[in-house]
């Protein structure tokens, strides 16, 4: 491979990107300009540099003109740097002798004036030409990737990802915060648009997770610390004490029966407080793992140290209950990580006009999911708090979605689940159901058909954002009812519709601790708080941290089929890494020039990774290239210029600065 110590022979390639760049930047003029720059042997304009013919130009020119440096001015290097490195390597040149600069995202797309844009493009190309002359051939380091994965979150996303990985023979650790896996899906009765029973399709998968020899299920636990890098993550998981040994509990539930609390009296979180549980409980009958948990906040013995401990008696010689259980920290070593931490639903007390929390007959959609669920608090009966069936029910769409006062985004699933709930409520109670929507959004396979079916079933569909829910009657027939006030925009009339029960179709939001979680895993969030994918279109499950992938609603609102598809995609990405067995690290590490190093130790304290140590014998600093992540902090700080970051040396960066100041 060429490129060391020779006189620079630079090829400059300026991309039109169709009209994306050429529509604003006068590319031919930039090419003319580049042709006269020092060291430039050939400069070309091409319509799409990233295309095969575009790349072939580079490869051919390397041979024909004996080029030893390449500059490509096109889109963002975050998009295509690797493309041009590959082309350069295929042309027979070290791939790190190419510099890719951005005249699309940074120029043609953001500036209106053609002269200004052209001038800036020239300056950027000038910077690149001056810089590339200093670039050196580099060899990337290869590090092994462990054959194990961590999946965080045991909803349908985490379950799907874990099963795909485990089936491929990888060791999987599935960590779930709650006492059981299943996530939101476990709370649903039916799924749209097929009206499949959610439990019937989910619980076999939950059991498969529990039984799979390659999956270690860690429930009631949270990731506490993440260290390391792609292929070699070290993760600490803190397991909360459930005061029951999972391996000894057989799920007979006799302890629950025997608890000194004869009646359940504490709100059951799984039913969103619509039912009660005892201090010793199982969230729902099909929970996985199928073991009980003791809640330290309500258990008499754990709170006051005094109780007859009838549960222990009932457990007998199984000895599963252990009040001395302490939190436990597990240390895992994995090659890849999939985050599938899900979403939370919007808290409708933030929209007080709909009366949630004020009127007992105003429910969230998730609460109704529990009511219509045959294993829910009412055994699937849709009844009001007084036990009677409602005659009329109103479902208000877009609560906490598409609203500049709360969340601007569309939560994507609410139209469909509201139609589903309309169907189920009518089926279970015979009530007349009104859906109030802004726009009916039903894109998806079989979704529009489901909407048409519901319309035929006689659900009232009223287009209009509901102004308020009130209990102040204006007419005798409104007495004792909740009145939904809305402008029906289909007929241009303000209407008052008295109902017995109101369902708020609450939107999807990022988990409240999404910010802490993303910091833990060193990934980014969008402004809204959803985990940020590497590229919105071409890398939807990757993140900016190599080896960490995202799946499901933690990345943005999604329905179940999309979530499963994304989870399996994330698993496939992780598998590709693990099956390859090694990963090439970007060779942008720091190096020490021993002759210049004065041994002042400044860099050693600055390195966040402890990658720099002091060689007592030579009295100079030394960089451990495996630990160095290539931030360049040491290079900036070295007072004697002894430290240099590959690809970002002083020569390279300072030349570029000089160059762009055209």
């Amino acid at each position: 491979m060429k490129g060391n110590g020779e006189v620079p022979r630079i090829g400059v390639y300026v991309c039109d990107c169709g009209t994306n760049i050429a529509g604003k930047v006068r590319v031919a003029e930039v090419v003319e300009f580049a042709r006269d720059l020092p060291g430039v042997v050939v400069a070309r304009e091409y319509k799409y540099m990233c295309s095969d013919p575009g790349q072939d130009l580079i490869k051919r020119d390397i041979q024909e003109y004996n080029l030893n440096r390449i500059v490509v001015a096109s889109c963002s290097p975050l998009l295509h740097e690797h493309t041009f490195r590959k082309a350069t390597a295929e042309g027979g040149l070290n791939p790190y002798l190419v510099h890719h600069v951005n005249i699309r995202e940074d120029v043609s797309w953001v500036h209106e004036d053609s002269d200004e844009a052209t001038r800036k493009a020239k300056a950027i190309v000038h910077g690149a030409v001056l810089r590339v002359a200093w670039q050196k051939p580099l060899e990337p380091q290869s590090v092994p990737v462990r054959d194990s994965a961590l999946v965080v979150g045991g909803g349908i996303a985490g379950i799907s990802a874990a099963l795909t990985l485990a089936e491929a023979g990888k060791q999987v650790y599935l960590v779930e915060r709650e006492p059981t896996i299943g996530g939101h899906m476990a709370k649903f009765d039916k799924t749209f648009p097929t009206l499949d029973c959610a439990a019937c399709i989910l619980t076999p998968k939950m059991t498969a997770v529990k039984d799979h020899p390659n999956i270690t299920l860690i429930t009631y636990a949270e990731v506490e610390e993440v260290d390391g890098y792609v292929g070699n993550f070290k993760v600490k998981v803190r397991k909360k004490p459930r005061y029951v040994h999972e391996d000894r509990c057989v799920g007979c539930l006799e302890c629950i029966e025997a608890c000194v609390f004869k009646e359940p009296r504490f709100p059951n979180e799984f039913d969103l407080g619509l039912s009660k549980r005892k201090p010793v409980y199982i969230p729902f009958p099909q929970a996985v793992p199928p073991v009980v948990t003791i809640d330290p906040d309500t258990c008499l013995y754990l709170r006051f140290g005094k109780c007859k401990k009838t549960c222990v008696e009932a457990c007998g010689d199984r000895n599963a209950i252990d009040f001395d259980m302490k939190p436990e920290t597990l240390e895992l070593e994995v090659g890849t990580i999939i985050l599938a931490t899900g979403f939370k639903t919007f808290d409708p007390t933030r929209t007080p006009k709909y009366g949630y929390g004020r009127f007992p007959e105003v429910y969230t959609s998730l609460e109704i999911e529990r009511l219509v669920n045959s294993s829910g608090p009412t055994g699937g009966e849709v009844v009001m708090r007084n036990g009677q069936k409602p005659k009329r029910v109103g479902i208000i769409h877009c609560v906490g979605s598409r609203d500049k006062n709360t969340n601007p985004w569309c939560s994507k699933v609410c139209c469909m689940y509201s139609l589903k709930l309309a169907h189920l409520i009518h089926e279970r109670s015979g009530a007349e159901v009104y859906n109030f929507y802004i726009d009916m959004r039903t894109p998806g396979k079989g979704y529009e058909e489901f909407y048409n079916r519901l319309a035929k079933e006689g659900v009232h569909l009223i287009r209009g954002r509901v102004a308020e829910v009130t209990d102040a009657p204006l007419h005798p027939e409104e007495e004792g009812k909740l009145i939904i006030r809305v402008e029906d925009t289909n007929i241009g009339v303000v209407r008052r519709i008295p109902v017995d029960m109101v369902v708020l179709a609450v939107g999807l939001e990022p988990q409240p601790d999404a910010d802490e979680v993303r910091r833990l895993f060193n990934i980014s969030c969008s402004t809204e708080g959803w985990f940020l994918e590497r590229h919105p279109k071409l890398a939807p499950v990757e993140t900016f941290t190599d080896g960490v992938f995202v799946a499901g609603a933690c990345q943005g609102p999604k329905d179940i089929p999309e979530t499963v598809a994304q989870a399996q995609a994330a698993a496939a990405n992780a598998l590709a890494l693990m099956d390859k067995g090694s990963v090439e690290m970007e060779p942008n590490v720091a190096r020490v020039n021993e002759e210049l190093c004065s041994g002042c130790h400044i860099c050693i304290g600055l390195c966040p990774y402890g990658a720099i140590s002091f060689n007592e014998e030579k009295k100079v600093a030394e960089v451990n290239e495996v630990l160095c992540k290539g931030c360049g902090t040491c290079t900036a700080a070295c007072p004697s210029g002894a430290l240099s970051q590959n690809l970002f040396s002083d020569h390279e960066v300072f030349s570029e600065i000089m160059g762009v100041l055209l």
């Binding site: 980014s524 402004t527 210029g641």
Partner: protein
């Protein structure tokens, strides 16, 4: 508005600020063309010498942009940048250079709007300040090659 247009060098970190500039582009936001962005891996690579080097070669300002505190892809590089920036400000005072000519901003990957806002603001500020004027000592010759270290900072 006068015909004078300031030249600004942008030192943007790869993970947050540069990605945000990409986002501003993808969103087709329109902003002043005065900043020429140079990508570095981390704002921790920011070296005060870059500022003087840029001034020497005709820049009127330098904009450094990195991840928000606590968000650094390399744990704490942005804090190192902040430290150097604070020291640099004192030095600028002593040299009689307006502090506004060097600006440090935290811009997360999702803040395309902030890229636009900061660049427009800084361009406007520098238009008001006018060109940077530094008296060169008599006989001092312009360096022909880029500096390789040499200052005392850290």
């Amino acid at each position: 508005m006068s015909a004078y247009e300031p030249k600004i060098v942008g030192i943007f970190c790869n993970w947050c600020a540069y990605t945000a500039a990409d986002l501003a582009g993808i969103s087709r936001m329109k902003y002043a063309p005065n900043v020429r962005i140079i990508r570095v891996m981390c704002s921790g690579r920011f070296d005060p010498q870059m500022v003087f080097w840029a001034f020497k070669h005709g820049a009127d300002g330098v904009l450094i942009a990195g991840c928000h505190p606590g968000d650094c892809h390399y744990q704490e590089g942005n804090y190192k940048a902040l430290r150097r920036y604070k020291l640099l400000q004192k030095l600028l005072d002593q040299l009689g250079i307006e502090r506004e000519r060097v600006r440090l901003e935290w811009i997360s990957a999702s803040e395309g709007e902030k890229v636009k806002q900061v660049i427009d603001e800084m361009t406007e500020t520098l238009r008001r300040l006018g060109p940077l004027k530094i008296q060169e000592a008599p006989g001092e010759e312009a360096a022909a090659a880029p500096a390789a270290g040499g200052g005392h900072h850290g």
